[in-house]
Amino acid sequence: MLEIKPKPTAAAAPTHDRIRILSLLVEDGQNTLTKVSGVIRRRGFHVRGISVGPSRQPGRSRITLQIDHGHAEADQVRKQLERLVEVVEVEDLTGDEVHNRELVVARVAASELDALLKRGAKILSTGSDGTAVEFSGDAEQVADFVNELARHGIVDVVRSGPVVMRRTE
């Protein structure tokens, strides 16, 4: 059985004030992800969370990054990523009112699902090797959920990176 240690949430991390949340619109291409990660490595930044998916525009993807800017000035992450020809736009969402969601899918021993369901988990399938559930929430809720899972005997768990969108009031 996997032992899952809860990932420190952004709030709990000592480097909290160095975390930027960026939303990138990028051109799809063989080299795009390499270029983005290359800049992050070369400039001494650290990825805390990443998710990639298609955007509304054909041929372009949305990358959401949670990133530690290390010893550099906070805005350097955005500026360095902006330099890439593959990167169409970078939006810095740090400190903004946002929807910040992560997805977790887990397989647990079938017995005690009530506590999970009460938190809002959804059952995806049941079988002889356990029950698959999904849950989504902000980083803190997901971390709590995974802690809860640990008490229920996790068979397997996968978590997505964050997807973040600015709230428009």
Partner: protein, 556 residues
């Protein structure tokens, strides 16, 4: 198709080396007599030649190399160009597209290996991408902050037939050009500069790249603000101008460093403000109340020094926009300039002249007198570079070429040859130490083959002089692996390559040797056996602030 596209972009010279994966291009080279191909002896030489060519004439340098080792040999040259913002197009052959990823013969991940040393790169696997890619590559390499762009073209694409397509427009939504000036910020910057009690302007390579020298001079004179240049900014402001501080940085002049450390407003134009300029960052320009930073690359703002006023713009446009707002300057300006003149007298550049050994400065000063500020000097890296920077009074842009950011030994000879291809009308001098020279000495063949009129001044001290000086001063005086006594006889080496050369060991022989070099058409080398203990001064000890610069001991 590739060659046609290059013709369309106005390419004149290609520096290259053929091999398995770019043979289809070479097969058709002879059909394009407008493209002059220079066969180098090592791909690194090709990259530096293209670099020297681009820096001398302003057009992008073009390089060909084959896949695998051929392309990887370009990496140092690409990095050199990238660090110094030099426009370059590298076209490398890649294995057949269906072989990519199978570890084919001479296959390597060239895009992966060069991504961090190119402004942009392309892997071309289909013929229909090619016209657009080549056109975009030239656009990206030459606009904004220039830089090298690599195009890796699979061999089957080179062989494919295609209809001629001329791309109509460039569609690069992710490529941001910061040309325009925020007029409000320009006005603020101008007011801050004019109102400063002790202003200093530092000018970098960006001033030369945007041809902002005239605007810089007009602004400096209007604001009565002294101007220092970075190593790469040399030529942006005439050294003999009364407002000149000459070179800044950890090997800059004493009066410039004093001025920077006492300035209350520091305007930095077209520069990266790197560690060689600031020395210890926390002690850089401690009295500055207002940093003004002008650069076309937004990411330079606050990368090293946080400016209070930032102008993300082309240097020429930014300085032009500031000029009308400089009206009345601070009343204490005369006092500040007098103080700088005093520092200039107190901390002159000086060197040992009387110990009977040949001093590098003697060589350079004689050379300077002859060339009357007409020649391009291409320096290598190390002591020779700093001597060549400090002991010439460059009074025009484009006369000093060297590898500043990357500090690539072996740069000078191939870059000087490239510079001569780019500016055949201008005398070109190559200044190098023997250590760097032998790293790319094989390119002498190119000099001889094309009878390039490049004069090579070898400042030979039989050691890695700068490393030796650092070891002496900052590493406990332990001289480790700096002894280069086992070097070729350079006169005989040149004979073997087919160019004339002289050895000079005495001061009296400097002038006659230069006479001989100038009389000779074509390449010429002078092996100056200089004082092996000659040092670069001033110098700021590693890890110290600029105000702690050490000067040459006073000699009788």
């Amino acid at each position: 198709m590739i060659l046609e596209a290059l013709e369309r972009e106005g390419v004149e010279y290609i520096f290259g080396y053929p091999g398995g994966a770019n043979l289809p291009i070479y097969q058709h080279l002879h059909e394009h007599p407008k493209l002059k191909h220079i066969l180098v002896r090592h791909e690194q030489g090709a990259a530096h030649m293209a670099d020297g060519y681009a820096r001398a004439c302003g057009k992008p340098g073009v390089v060909f190399a084959t896949s695998g080792p051929g392309a990887l040999n370009l990496v140092t040259g690409l990095c050199t160009a990238y660090m110094d913002s030099v426009p370059m197009i590298a076209i490398t052959g890649q294995v057949v597209s269906t072989q990519v990823g199978r570890d084919a013969f001479q296959e390597s991940d060239v895009i992966g290996a060069t991504s961090s040393v190119t402004k942009h790169s392309y892997l071309v696997t289909k013929i229909d991408q090619l016209p657009r890619v080549i056109h975009e590559a030239f656009h990206i390499a030459t606009t904004g902050r220039p830089g090298p762009v690599l195009i890796d073209i699979c061999k089957d694409v080179q062989q494919a037939d295609a209809e001629r397509v001329t791309p109509q427009y460039i569609d690069l939504p992710g490529y941001k050009l910061n040309g325009h000036v925020n007029l409000d910020q320009a006005r603020q910057a101008a007011h801050a500069l004019a109102a400063a009690e002790q202003p200093v302007i530092l000018a970098g390579h960006g001033v030369l790249l945007s041809h902002a020298e005239r605007e810089l001079m007009r602004l400096a004179e209007a604001a009565a603000a002294p101007v220092g240049t970075t190593l790469l900014g040399i030529g942006a402001f005439p050294v003999k101008h009364p407002l000149s501080l000459h070179m800044t940085g950890f090997m800059g002049t004493g009066w410039c460093l004093k001025a920077v450390q006492n300035a209350d407003v520091l305007m930095m134009v077209g520069m990266r403000v790197d560690d060689r300029v600031t020395a210890k960052l926390s002690e850089f320009a401690p009295n500055v109340k207002t940093f003004i930073h002008v650069d076309i690359d937004e990411s330079e703002m606050g990368k090293n020094v946080r400016p209070h006023i930032e102008l993300v713009a082309d240097a020429r446009l930014a300085l032009e926009a500031m000029l009308p707002h400089i009206t009345k300057v601070d009343a204490g300006r005369a006092e500040w300039l007098a103080q700088i003149d005093k520092w200039r007298e107190e901390h002159p550049l000086r060197y040992k002249q009387s110990n009977g050994q040949l001093q590098p400065q003697d060589v350079l000063i004689d050379m300077y007198r002859r060339t009357k500020s007409e020649a391009i000097v291409v320096a290598d890296v190390g002591q020779n570079q700093i001597w060549a920077a400090l002991w010439w009074n460059y009074d025009r842009p484009g006369l000093f070429i060297n590898s500043g950011g990357s500090g690539t030994m072996g740069f000078a000879l191939p870059a000087a040859l490239g510079a001569k291809f780019g500016r055949p009308d201008v005398p070109v001098w190559c200044v190098a130490g023997e250590g760097g020279f032998v790293m790319t000495a094989q390119e002498l063949s190119v000099a001889v083959e094309h009878q390039l009129d490049v004069k090579i001044v070898l400042l030979n001290n039989f050691s890695l002089g700068m490393v030796r000086q650092f070891q002496d001063d900052f590493y406990g005086g332990v001289r480790s692996q700096v002894d280069l006594t086992h070097m070729p006889d350079f006169v005989k080496l040149c004979e073997a390559y087919g160019l004339p050369a002289l050895r000079v060991e005495k001061f009296e022989d400097i002038a006659p040797s230069f006479d001989a070099a100038e009389r000779t058409k074509g390449p010429f080398l002078i092996d100056f056996r200089i004082d092996p203990e000659a040092n670069v001064y001033p110098i700021v000890p590693l890890g110290k602030g600029l105000n702690e610069f050490r000067e040459a001991p006073e000699y009788a």
